[in-house]
């Protein structure tokens, strides 16, 4: 075991890319005769998902991003043999393009605080040895041998830990209720049925550090008096299922699961249950039904699951991230945990920062950090030339928080007040090329499919809301549809049984609240300023701004743009499919989004002045477009950028 290797190469964020990468790396290391000295370790997610595969070579902790198999010989030669840094593979800061050598020097990490994810990307998930080496199962030993179950519960209560699945129920109180409930047989359950679009924190945790979830569950089982635990994982996470399975088997081997754990006369077993991919099974009562082998439908909660849950026995269900917090609280104390975060939201929260930011990925931040800090400093801000419009938190059950409100701190109460929710940790950043009506339509389409159909308000109401939203996006909605939409939303929220139905209207209600004008614009003006709703827009080129570079010609999938080199180009309104490729391609802000109504018989009718819609740094577009006539053909010589056109 005590091999004498001098360096570790940690490989993470492969995510199925390049399965041949690790064997190739091992082979090259072998070929250079370094196999004895250098160990290759495949680790979990490092948070830099978009730049994977990433490599960390320790010591000294040199961090390489976007590595390909072709880079392997150079890395081995330069870094492993000669100790030099391969500059081209270093991470470059979005601001200033400064290359950073070490992972911990990257500015995106300065604002983060990793507690739950601290081992992700640092240890080999399938190795219980590495988990023990970094202090794993110490908390379990401490709890079992030096604490009573009540003391454990008191510690968790004191820490202020709240459910990380989204609703934020006090974990200690849930444990206490389960402990006090009558019944000999009790259960603990980990909810790993992460279903929000764009969210993958739980997956990263289960794949990257499965032992932390297991350790937390054993401690929880000890505290509430349960001897059987279940981890409910969606079957779409095969690697999570695999790594958890290995972790459970290894923990049994080491006597950390099973009979008489650590000689403390406490027995505990964990079973993995694979979910079949229904979003509603992330809801606690539906999840328990699903474990029992029944149809995953929520039930009324006259009695809490802590009284009568799984098989009508007292059950303590927490999100996997909540469980993973437990060992750290036991090890470092409730005071330490409570010192992080805000008055009512303690500790840290993992988020999946996705959408229109330059550094999308998995992050973990202390509670109370502002959304602005997350988006701009950790996420690196919006892509060049774009502006943040809103941030969506909480997945399909959450809401959109407009850019003006990004100063608000991230905690359970503030997000709820803002019409959104903490949720399990999805965070989607939207820029000015995102239509808020389209976004709520997207989420309702998801929810329509995922509604279990038990409550008619949710089953039918969501569908009707989706119809209205689709009509708004298509430009066929009536004036009376908006009040109808709002009324439907309120009815669905108030009369559905479970969390899915209760929160299903949130995307609609929050966008109605903050982006009412956008809805009105769609209905009254039949215009979508962000250019997303294709039926409502047309694209025209402003003659005064177009320098005839031909970029849009190349971008157009329809061959619908023509014009002579260095002369203003024209869009053929008949050929145009309103995809917006020319808009995105133009560097001079010459392509403009206009209401579709202005195009009659393939011609743009009136000059337009608009201050709405996406803007480039050049300021509001105030130049009238000329009357565009449909060009007869495809011009021809407009193809290709002219010499000297710098891009």
């Amino acid at each position: 075991m005590a091999d004498q290797h001098r360096a570790d190469v940690l490989v993470s964020c492969l995510h199925g890319r390049a399965p041949e990468f690790i064997p190739a790396l091992r082979e090259e290391i072998e070929r250079r005769g370094l196999a004895e000295e250098v160990k290759v370790v495949e680790t979990g997610c490092r948070g830099f998902c978009s730049m994977g595969p990433v490599l960390t070579i320790a010591p000294p902790g040199t961090f390489y991003t976007g590595v390909t198999a072709a880079d392997i010989p150079e890395i081995v030669e330069e870094t492993l043999v000669k100790g030099r840094v391969v500059q081209k593979l270093l991470y470059k800061e979005p601001s200033g393009r400064k290359a950073v050598q070490r992972y911990d020097e990257i500015s995106a990490f300065a604002k983060q605080q990793r507690i739950v994810l601290r081992n992700c990307g640092m240890i080999e998930p399938t190795s219980i040895e590495e988990y023990i080496a970094v202090g794993g199962y110490e908390a379990l030993g401490k709890a079992l041998t030096t604490m009573t179950p009540d003391a454990v519960i008191a510690e968790i209560k004191k820490s202020g830990l709240r459910g990380r699945g989204g609703a934020g129920f006090a974990t200690g109180r849930k444990w206490e209720q389960t402990r006090q409930a009558h019944g000999d047989v009790k259960h603990v359950i980990a909810n790993g049925d992460e279903g929000d679009p764009g969210a993958f924190m739980d997956r990263a945790l289960m794949e990257g550090d499965p032992h932390s979830v297991i350790e937390g569950m054993i401690i929880g089982g000890f505290a509430v008096g349960a001897s059987q635990g279940y981890i409910y994982v969606r079957d779409e996470y095969p690697l999570a299922v695999k790594n958890l399975g290995i972790a459970i088997a290894r923990a049994k081997e080491f006597g950390l699961l099973g009979h008489d754990i650590l000689g403390a006369d406490f027995d505990f077993e964990i079973k993995i249950v694979r979910g079949a991919g229904a979003f509603v099974c992330g809801e606690s009562s539906a999840l328990m039904q699903s474990i029992e082998g029944k149809v995953g439908e929520p039930r009324a909660k006259h009695l809490h699951a802590t009284e009568r849950g799984l098989w009508d026995r007292p059950s303590c269900l927490n999100n996997v991230e909540t469980w993973a917090n437990v060992p750290h609280i036991i090890n470092q104390g409730a005071e330490w945990f409570a010192s992080i975060g805000t008055e009512r939201s303690k500790g840290t929260k993992a988020f999946c920062l996705v959408g229109k930011v330059r550094n999308p990925g998995l992050i973990e931040v202390p509670m109370g950090i502002s959304l602005k800090t997350i988006v701009n400093e950790i996420g690196g801000g919006p892509p060049r030339g774009r502006k943040i419009k809103a941030v969506q938190t909480g997945g399909p059950s959450g809401g959109c928080i407009p850019a003006e409100m990004l100063d608000i701190p991230v905690d359970y109460e503030t997000l709820s007040e803002a019409g959104s929710m903490m949720g399990s940790g999805g965070m989607i950043v939207m820029d000015d090329r995102t239509c808020m009506v389209d976004i709520s339509r997207y989420f309702l389409e998801f929810l329509k499919d995922e509604s279990c159909g038990k409550c008619s308000t949710c089953r039918e109401g969501v569908k009707r809301m989706l119809e209205i939203l689709t009509n708004i996006c298509d430009g066929t909605a009536k004036e009376s549809d908006l009040p109808m939409l709002e009324a439907l939303a309120k009815t669905v929220a108030s009369s559905s049984l479970c969390g899915l139905g209760k929160s299903a209207p949130n995307p609609v209600l929050s966008t109605l609240r903050y982006f009412h004008k956008e809805y009105e614009q769609h209905i009254h003006d039949k215009y979508c300023a962000s250019g997303v709703c294709r039926s409502l827009v047309a694209y025209v080129i402003t003659e005064e701004k177009c320098k005839g570079c031909g970029l849009c010609v190349k971008a157009c999938p329809q061959d619908g743009i023509s014009g002579s080199l260095k002369q203003p180009h024209e869009i053929d309104q008949v050929k145009c499919i309103h995809c917006g490729a020319c808009f995105d391609a133009c560097k001079l802000d010459a392509v403009q989004i206009v209401p579709r109504a202005m195009v009659v018989d393939g011609k743009v009718q009136v000059p337009v002045i608009t201050n709405e819609g996406p803007k480039r740094p050049g300021g509001p577009l105030d130049v009238p477009v000329r009357n565009v006539t449909t060009p007869g053909g495809n011009g021809g010589n407009g193809h290709g950028a002219p010499k000297g056109a710098k891009r």
Partner: protein, 124 residues
């Protein structure tokens, strides 16, 4: 693997396992071996292996890293030792037989083996 039967057993296992991941944890001592073409030709690889063996045998906590040519090829293999807050000491013409004494005197006792030193840089 025998089952762990107490917290103490877990802790002693941990102490043993920590050796395996010590390259990833912070260390107060860094031993840098010059591994340019000149260093390799002069036997730097064997020297580095000797350091690794010696450190493993003594269960010592130190990082061994490599570096490229630093321009003093005639004195290769060159080995730098940097201890926390201390000066950086460079030994020249190191061979495998010198390694145990460097580890014993310098790292364990804290006495620099002056006769083999070719350079010394104050911290910074």
């Amino acid at each position: 693997m025998p089952q762990l039967k107490s917290l103490d057993e877990l802790r002693s296992l941990r102490t043993r396992l920590q050796q395996d991941i010590k390259t990833r944890t912070e260390s107060s001592t860094t031993i840098t071996v010059g591994m340019g073409t000149c260093g390799i030709a002069a036997g730097a690889r064997e020297v580095m292996q000797a350091f690794l063996d010696e450190l493993a045998a003594r269960k010592m906590d130190a990082h061994v890293v490599t570096t490229g040519c630093i321009g003093m090829c005639s004195k290769e293999p060159l080995v730098d030792i940097q201890q926390a807050d201390g000066p950086r000491i460079t030994y020249g013409n190191v061979d495998t037989t010198m390694v145990p004494r460097i580890v014993e005197d310098h790292l364990v006792q804290g006495h620099v083996v002056q006769s083999w030193v070719v350079g010394q840089v104050a911290r910074g």
